[in-house]
Point group: D2
Chain length 350, copies 4
């Protein structure tokens, strides 16, 4: 048995929401972290979690979590780290309060992503950005964010291309899963036998977040990378797994074999440090002409790997290809946990 007394106590903000539930599912039996506090909106507080939540994960609620009393989102929780799955309408202020009170805030919300002293972290891509935390003066704690669920697959696919060949422009059209809209989210009446070519705010996130993530850190400043991105976002009747049709223009002539090699060999700190939730191989390339598909690829490598396929030349850009990543694991709760694991190994949690 693991001695749970030595585990780091963590709390979950927005514990009853869809990201909150995923945090609980993924953190159960985590080797380093132990859930010691659950917090949610006033409506849920002071009730046992089991009664406060409309649980819809596939695995049942872990028994000790089911009985835990839900608290309010106030900075008096008995834990060191808080994972935030709060709605953006309240996340900004609450997360700031927790940082000021000394908590380490690992946030999945968009509010602080563009704060100049907050890293927008994807450990395989820009672990060096973590250093900017030392410049966070706004309280005794710290805030680290992970990107939007549709951004994550894209930056993981682009990073090795940028490193090896240089990128000029990226066009992306998404087919995004329903779980990305939270719960209850999209009405069944709106999406069965239908697709919706619009997700509020999504295209703006995809066109800006990669610039910070792929940017360069130095002297306390993250400098955005130069890259033109255009995004069109669609909602499709898929439960989990965002598919993205991408076209890229390089800064030089590139062979397709070299692109695939760059993807397959891509690896970062999570792999070097053997982080518990990290995928063994961040990017899997499929040779089958009709892959990747959400249903078959989304849970690859615990849902933390990105699947790519259909690399082919493009009459307008240089190449086009298809990306698939799990939006609530790699793109939300799992990504945030990976951030916390990186911080643990790098000594930020001491």
């Amino acid at each position: 048995m693991i001695n749970t007394k030595q585990k780091i106590p963590v709390g979950i903000l927005g514990a009853t929401g869809s990201v909150g539930q995923k945090f609980i599912e993924l953190l159960t039996n985590h080797p380093w972290f132990e859930i010691t506090a659950l917090a949610a909106s006033e409506r849920s507080s002071d009730r046992p979690y089991k009664e406060a939540v409309n649980w819809f994960m596939q695995s049942p609620i872990p028994p000790h979590i089911a009985q835990m009393l839900v608290k309010r989102c106030e900075p008096d929780l008995d834990c060191k780290i808080v994972f935030s799955g709060l709605d953006a309408s309240v996340a900004g202020e609450i997360e700031t309060e927790f940082r000021q009170a000394g908590y380490i805030v690992i946030s999945n919300s968009r509010n602080h992503r563009f704060d100049h002293d907050v890293p927008l972290l994807v450990p395989e891509v820009n672990s060096k950005h973590l250093e900017i935390i030392e410049h966070q003066k706004n309280g005794k704690g710290m805030i680290v964010t992970n990107p939007n669920c549709s951004t994550i697959g894209l930056v993981l696919a682009l990073k090795p291309l940028m490193n090896n060949f240089g990128l000029e422009s990226v066009n992306v059209v998404t087919l995004q899963a329903l779980s990305g809209a939270g719960y209850p989210g999209v009405s069944s009446l709106d999406i069965i036998d239908n697709v919706i070519p619009f997700i509020r705010g999504e295209e703006e996130k995809m066109e800006t977040e990669p610039l910070k993530i792929l940017g360069r850190y130095g002297n306390g400043v993250i400098e955005n990378c130069k890259l033109k991105i255009s995004a069109q976002c669609n909602r499709v009747p898929v439960i989990n797994g965002h598919l993205e049709c991408v076209s890229v223009k390089f800064k030089q002539k590139v062979l397709s074999g070299d692109i695939i090699k760059a993807w397959q060999e891509f690896s970062g700190d999570p792999q070097k440090l053997d982080l518990p939730i990290a995928p063994l191989q961040p990017i899997h390339y499929f040779e089958e002409p009709n892959f990747p598909q959400p249903k078959f690829c989304r849970t690859l490598d615990k849902g933390m790997a990105v699947s790519i396929g259909r690399l082919r030349e493009c009459p307008i850009f240089d190449y086009k290809f298809v990306i698939l990543s799990h939006n609530t694991i790699r793109g939300a709760a799992g990504g945030a946990i990976l951030n916390a694991e990186l911080m643990y190994k790098k000594g930020y949690l001491d």
Copy 2:
């Protein structure tokens, strides 16, 4: 009562298939045409249509059609025109035989689309191409084709842009309906809770067919237009209605208001000639941010109109927008019937 004796007798090749069924549905009660022959593969021949077909249109089989005996696809059918919904594996040869025997072949199959003397016809876009028929020497009859179901929405949207502003390049990513794959087509096990980023041959069609359709006719020759097109095609769990996310680069600076105006004012021969199946207005522009959607827009104007929405500037191209068209009506049987109606009014059927 219409005097059916004066109607033009038409036959349907591939009458039991999905396009064949749609031909029957749309031609029932047609003011000019009357179905007098049904033909299909050997397996179906010599049986009453009702028994040979696995009918899955929403309206029931018209009673007089139900009793009609299915013939083989041999050029001894009692009719003047044949509408062909044949599978591409057999369509090429059979259609040639019918032309040689003097039939007017209105084909929905891909086989003859790029024959140098065969028009690839979209009446609102290139009705002048019909004149090339006079150069068809290969038999006493003639062949006219309509484009692939994913091409049709695109060329209707592009034509007014090309006419008014000039086009340089077009990037398109599709979300295509299941009925485009025929019947039984895509297994439910493959597509529920899934999307498939691949449709065999589809991207090639979308990148080449518009060049001929948008090309210029003169002196017996259709000259392809100069335009770079890149297509990525996806299958989604929608019954009918292809959605397309398009980005375009113009030859000049264009205002968005002028684009919308060009679409809304676009009209062609089918509208001028008041063809029975023609949409009153070929292109409808939606101001709602989340439109067009397959479920709500596919049957607009009898399923023959194209819906467009979400026009906005693009960081890479000039503009991006979304197109929706009904793939089995405008994109297949209805499009072919419109071709026949145009030919009737232009005197080609005399």
Copy 3:
């Protein structure tokens, strides 16, 4: 042109909800009724309907309705009849207020269905029950209700059996459509790749409402019929159309041919009086082994007919069969309109 000045002015309570929208769709161009007032909850009031509603019918909002100002549900509306699609949480009291103020309330809500002086009306089945209105003393107006969407198909199928053969017991298991849960109703995350074997309150309604509807009226009293009914209700991923698997035990030995004959010959006041929204034939029997199906049968006869199929002997009961009816047309708004039409023709609206 119809002289709309002579039409009866009607209002819609709960006009922004799913039943309210269906009322608007079905009443547009009605020969006898004209929508002159729309009312909804406070949140929607004083706004143009177009802005207050999240319209999701397939046809667009009729233009004159789109501009109409939504009022509160208070009995000062400019109309004679109100069609109520109110939520049961508020319908009871509001409908009572309208009756007291002299309005004719045609309600689709459950609150007054079991009031001893309120008819639970299905015009083909129990039009005589309408006479009980004369005993309504509670105000100057009147209230008439129609049954739950899952009850309606059942009682229409049972009535001719009861009349011809006598019924002892009925077992029914439903597969109910999503639109029955209103909008937004069931989350897509809950129902894609799933069915839910529970609909709150539904089984109770199915086991009790038929007893009143099939009961006998005399001397100001509706006497419930004697019949044992057992219901199990399931939600399935179908947009419209409730399917019901029924087993029945008769009071005598019956031949299957006689059952089918009884269904096919069944007809009532709506057919005799030629009511505008009435189906030409209330019950259609299908011989195909795999019919009726929601997708192909729900819109039969304007969505007002019931489809039945698969009649066969039962090892436990006498016979089993399958029923299909459109839940938001025959089972809600269309059923209520049929009630109003019957009342018009019977002189109750003078």
Copy 4:
């Protein structure tokens, strides 16, 4: 490492079909069995499995299986046991040939289920029936069958009720998953936004198979139990997991608490013998009013347990309730493997 040399070599008949693929998935890493032969129809034979199959399991093809050459279904395979997932159109004869040649045939097909000397085996329910194998004279081998995928959940739920209280009659209406129809099976065009109230031959199986399974074995004869069963079967748009709405009449008065207790305490040989694929607890009862649901319960206990919920009194029968079981695991490949495991432990494979 397990010494695979000591494992029992097994072959799979119909290895490329949907049940065949499930056999491969579930037998990979089995502690007692090792796949040494794959056989399928002539079309697939002599090709590497990877090329012959259209693999659609969620996990990838095990590498050593992918390279294995597919053989014909002739009794010269290098193995002792054959698991048969053959189509019923060919299974009868082929399985007989294998038995005559000395193979132990564990079949999922329906052909031999009612042979008087063949057990229709559900190890928790009728493991004693296995003894009838000794009376199989028709060759040196033996045949054991498992029931239809819709029967299995029902008999597991009924067995403890029959043992404890005695059963008189059972009415069951099913909502069955798509994978039960094999691959490609049901066309997406037929089932999206639809349900189909018919599955060929299914109701007959459900009304007869339980009588044999729940029957008594003695002196080389299985005597059917006396029980009236009526079944209505529907196909619904669910990938995996058959839901069944059941009503039962007991031979005596029974309390609901005793029924739940009987289910929860139910256990059989697979649990006593600790068979590898056996569920720890064959029946799970859910107190939640809207459970069991296919999506959340189908993979319970490796997909081998049955979920039950909604026990309540019935106005016609005594009680009604809802059953859920995984149709391709418990109801097909997993059930067959459990049979083989039981035979191994009972010494039939020596």
